[in-house]
Every structure is written in C-alpha cells, then in structure tokens.
C-alpha cells in the first residue's frame, strides 16, 4: 500500500472513530454521577449481610467470587504463557542459574543502592503483607498486597544481584507455591459446594464487623489469591532476570 493510500485510509478511519467517540461521550452520565442501582444496594447490604466494612471486597470475593476466580486464572495463564515463551529459546531451562552476561561488575552497585534496597525489601514486605491480609477491613487485598509484596524480588535483584534472587526465590520453589494458591481458591469453592450446596457460598461464621477474623470465607479466599499473586509475580521477575543474563561465553562470566 502506498503512503498516500495509507494516509487516506487513516484519515477516513480516524474520522469515523472520532464520530463514534463523540457520540459516545455525548450520552455519558455527568462526571461523578452514578446511575446503576447495584452499587448502592451492595453498599447498603454488604455490611449487614456479610458484616464487612469494605463493600468492594464483598463483591470481589463473595457476591462475584466466581469472576475473581476467573481473573486469578487469567494471571496464572499469563505467567505460564510468559514462562513458556521466554524459556523456549534458552539453552538451560532448569536447575542451574544462567551464566552471567557480564554486564556489570561488583563495583557498579553502590553502597547506597544496596543499603536502600535492603531497607526497601523490609518495608515492601511489611506494607504488602499488611495490605494483603486486610481486604475486608481496609482498601486493598490479595491482588494489590500480593503485587506490592512481590516487589521484594525486584529489590533483591536490584540491590543484591541475580544470584541472590535465584537463591532466595528459585523457580522450583515459587512455581509450586503459585499453583497451591491457585488451587486453593478452587478447593475453597469445592469445599463450600459440599458444605453449603453452592460454589463459593459464604458458609463460615461471619463474626463481628471490623474484627480480623470475620466475614466468613472472604479472608480465606483472599489468602489464596495473595499467595498466588506473590508467587506468580516472583516467577515473572525471575524469568525477566534470566533474560538479562542470556547467553555469553563461559570465560566472560563475571560475578555480580
């Protein structure tokens, strides 16, 4: 296709898109105006039905718990797919860490980076776990907290290097943990199906609103999600860290 024809095609499609977008914007509700009844109902009912202050979590892990299970397996499939693609053209796919690419020597990582990186690991894990285990009481939950917590792997890589990352979070360990988290969600569903007759029915005692041990199955499911997300992201970081090491002659190896 000639550049001229492309330009004409782009102009026509751009104009058509603009018209659709403008028509869509014209019918939008005003900024900040909520029309649907569902959110308002959940806001009113969740604290009564489930003794939960955070209605968003009630939707995610209870009323629409099945949707969240699907989302969890989207992440699981994405991690598996990424691992498949990245490992496909690597020589060594299993046990030993890949050889160093010799990109940076020992001296290139300053004391400041190591000190702040190590301090950051502690802060990241503390904050991430806090966010991850309080989904029913405060904003956040297994996904958000899990993603934040997994930042510790990125920090280990930045502050200490590749080999410590592979030592503390080898994929032989993180992959089974991720699978356990994913499977846990389904097992909770099956258990509630057996106990209460409905998949993911909230059949545990609800407890008192605002207590840590309350809202029935919600914290249990959330814990499965947290485990799955932390391990999943650590697997991803490990795979990308492997990519930075790819394929050098053995004599060029440099310790990080």
């Amino acid at each position: 296709m000639s550049p001229r024809a492309r330009g004409v095609l782009a102009a026509i499609s751009g104009l058509a898109l603009l018209l659709v977008v403008l028509a869509g914007f014209a019918k939008l509700p005003d900024f900040g105006v909520y029309l649907g009844p569902y959110g308002t109902l959940v806001d009113e009912l969740a604290p009564i039905q489930r003794k939960i202050p955070n209605a968003i979590t009630a939707v995610n892990f209870d009323y629409r718990g099945l949707d969240t299970m699907g989302e969890e397996f989207i992440l699981f499939a994405a991690v598996a797919g990424l691992t498949l693609v990245l490992r496909k053209d690597r020589r060594d796919t299993t046990d030993a860490p890949l050889p160093s690419a010799g990109l940076r020597g020992r001296a290139d990582r300053s004391d400041a980076i190591r000190a702040f990186g190590l301090a950051g690991i502690a802060v990241t894990i503390a904050f991430g776990v806090y966010v991850a285990i309080h989904p029913h009481l405060t904003p956040g939950g297994g996904f958000q907290g899990g993603t934040i917590t997994s930042g510790f792997a990125a920090l280990i890589f930045l502050a200490l290097g590749y080999r410590p990352l592979k030592r503390y979070a080898p994929h032989q360990r993180t992959e089974p943990i991720e699978a356990i988290g994913a499977a846990g969600y389904v097992l909770v569903g099956v258990a509630t199906l057996a106990a209460a007759g409905a998949f993911l029915a909230n059949c545990l005692p609800l407890g008192a609103s605002g207590e840590f041990f309350s809202t029935g199955t919600i914290p249990v499911i959330n814990l499965c999600v947290a485990v799955e997300v932390v391990a999943g992201f650590v697997v991803v970081f490990g795979e990308f860290a492997d990519e930075t090491r790819f394929e050098v002659d053995d004599e060029a190896e440099v310790e990080p």
Partner: protein, 80 residues
C-alpha cells in the same frame, strides 16, 4: 475537591503526552513510572483506593521491571 481532581487529571494528560512524545524507551519507562504515580493520585482523589493500590504496584514495579529487563536483553543479549 473539584479543583484537586481537575489538577490531577490535567497532570495525567500532560505526563501521558510527554511519555508518548519521548521516543527513547529508556527515558520513556521512567516517564511511564511517573505516569503510574500520577494515575495513582487520580484514583485516590476519585476515592478508589483499591484500584489505586493496584495501579501503584503494577505501574511502578511490575511493568518497569519487565521493560527494563527486556531493554537489557535487546542491547546485550543474543538477539543483538
């Protein structure tokens, strides 16, 4: 509150535009991290703290890590 929301939204538009206009991926990824941070502020201002936490973690840790590792691989790896 409307003023704060307006400022935050304008900031997102500015940072997003700059991130697109800068063509060097190494600089772009840092602008993307700033974009993630500004987007987090917008979500907090709009009272969506759950989404804000997701954006914070994914936008300022996960994606930059993946992109930076990919850039290292492209510059130094086998496929150079």
């Amino acid at each position: 509150m409307a003023v704060v929301q307006g400022v935050a939204l304008v900031l997102v538009a500015v940072v997003a535009t700059v991130a697109v206009l800068v063509r060097d991926p190494k600089r772009q990824i840092f602008l993307y991290m700033i974009y993630g941070l500004v987007m987090t502020i917008v979500l907090v201002v709009l009272q969506a703290p759950d989404v804000a936490l997701s954006e914070l973690a994914v936008g300022s840790v996960a994606i930059p890590f993946a992109v930076l590792a990919t850039l290292v691989r492209m510059e130094h790896g086998k496929g150079k």
